[in-house]
Symmetry: C2
Subunit: 318 residues, 2 copies
């Protein structure tokens, strides 16, 4: 009998399921529309039904655990709390609800922590004890690993590097404060930087022909690849601020590597090269040359489900 875990990625729109073995192979997949289940009871029933269906007729497989990645999830308490992009309000004790339906260990954490565990179990951090994963999407999420363990802190919500303030009095942030790292170093931060550069610089730019509401990190990266001066300058500034945030994280936990992941990281060397340059120029001398800035090696399309599965496998090791 071969053990497998279920990796579940709960997103605002879709919930994706995978059955995953110890080597990270995805043996079966399924998905649901999260928005079809505004009541949490119905969602839990549907989730349990999917897992049972995935296991159906697979007498050689044994479900060992369930791992879940979800926004606003709390590992310590097994909850989703005050989620802004999900219909379920308040504090949802999700792992408890699921355990009532399926009697295996159930663990939950947020997407960025799941990405970090995915990197540790299946990706580029297999031999690392101290590293950080930054997910550069609409916001900036972070999963921090210290001594081989994800940092959850006393509240279970640790690892919010997107909300370190890097520019006091800077850009308005969704968290209600100003100048947070994610308002600069994220896909949407890059768009804001382009809008600012368009106001400050007088250079020609193909970005002047795109309505601001349609600007994306991808279009900006494509423009930068064509040497568009505004796009190049905006990417450089984004890299500089990201490197500043990374520099402050380095003096905290002295990671062996920082992995960059998500939409903005797709810009590739156009982002990585200046990030490495600025980290090297600005990091405290004690740490110079000690930190690798690396792309994630977990494939973007499966990363969320693999991260959730890695969370489950990691829990079973404890």
């Amino acid at each position: 009998m071969k053990e497998v875990v279920a990796g579940i990625d709960i997103g605002g729109t879709n919930t994706v399921f995978g059955l995953i073995d110890k080597a990270g192979n995805i043996l079966a997949e399924h998905s649901l529309k999260t928005t079809d289940y505004p009541k949490i009871e119905n969602f839990v029933s549907a989730l349990a039904a999917v897992i049972n269906k995935l296991m159906e007729g697979k007498a050689n497989l044994k479900l060992a655990a369930i791992g879940i990645g979800a926004p606003d999830a709390n590992y310590n308490r097994g909850t989703i709390e005050l989620a802004t992009n999900l219909a379920w309000k308040g504090i949802v004790p999700l792992t408890e609800f699921i355990r009532k339906k399926i009697d295996v260990p159930v663990v939950i954490t947020n997407d960025a922590n799941a990405a970090a565990i995915g990197e540790m179990i299946f990706g580029g951090a297999k031999k690392m004890k101290d590293f950080i994963v930054l997910t550069l999407g609409t916001g900036l999420g972070s999963g921090i690993v210290v001594n081989g363990e994800v940092v959850y802190g006393s509240t279970g919500f640790a690892g919010e590097l997107g909300h370190t303030i890097v520019v006091p009095g800077g850009r308005d942030c969704g968290c209600g404060r100003q100048g947070c790292l994610e308002t600069y170093a994220s896909a949407s931060g890059l768009v804001r930087t382009v809008l600012y550069m368009l106001s400050e610089m007088s250079e020609e730019s193909i970005l002047r022909d795109i309505p601001p509401s349609e600007l994306t990190a991808k279009k900006i990266a494509e423009a930068a690849a064509q040497k568009d001066p505004i796009a190049v300058e905006a990417l450089d500034y984004t890299a500089e601020i990201l490197a500043f945030g990374i520099g402050n994280a380095i003096v905290f936990s002295s990671p062996e590597a920082v992995f960059l992941f998500g939409g903005l990281a797709q810009a590739g060397e156009m982002l990585f090269a200046p990030v490495r340059k600025y980290v090297d120029e600005n990091v405290m001398a004690l740490f110079k040359g000690t930190v690798k800035i690396l792309p994630s090696v977990v494939s973007e399309s499966n990363a969320a489900v693999l991260g959730a599965a890695a969370l489950a496998w990691n829990e079973l090791k404890k």
Copy 2:
């Protein structure tokens, strides 16, 4: 037979020794002038002689381990590296040297990490898994505990919160960069702030009668207690910047408490009250009310030796 450990605090001027039992009682003490031993071999011999002398004639005691707190010490490697305030140059494998003379486990870490372990074993953090100790002296040292373990990172040098940059382009720091937290939130940072306030504000102040080279955090705190307007304003600004640094540390590791220790912390409520106010006002909503700002409860005069002893006791538990 009762087990004891030797706690050793190596400072630029003096090296202080204590024999300490599991409850934190100091059973014997001694000290050396560090500056009398410019050669490391001679220092190690003298250190071993002191320990042997302290144990002499105590047939009921057994030396179980040696713990050392020293500037620029590296726990991972057992070394003191490129110390700026000690005569021994380069990389000194101190624990290895000592183990050749006395065959017990020998561990070393820097002063701030030793203070954190002291707080965990003998002080106010006995039941805490996640906390931070900030030592506010000439500089700002930090010991960070996550999941019950000190954060050393991949290099062994993690936990340098004094060198997070809080004011980009701000005050010159001894590390060669600008705007580091310790240039504002430390005893010497407070002195710099007073000098700045004396230039900016026109209020009368008894601090105008003290030569800048004789200004100390203690004199400023005394002036603030007398409601001296410059001293009050300088302490408030110091508290605001310290709270800003603490706020960024909170989103990283979500500690249960932050302990303030050292010269500047002696200002007591004049510092703690505004630090608490600014942390509460400015911390990310997710963490509001989750972090206690506390004075260290390890007595300042014995803290370094007790911290070094706690390091040894903690090692024996592993």
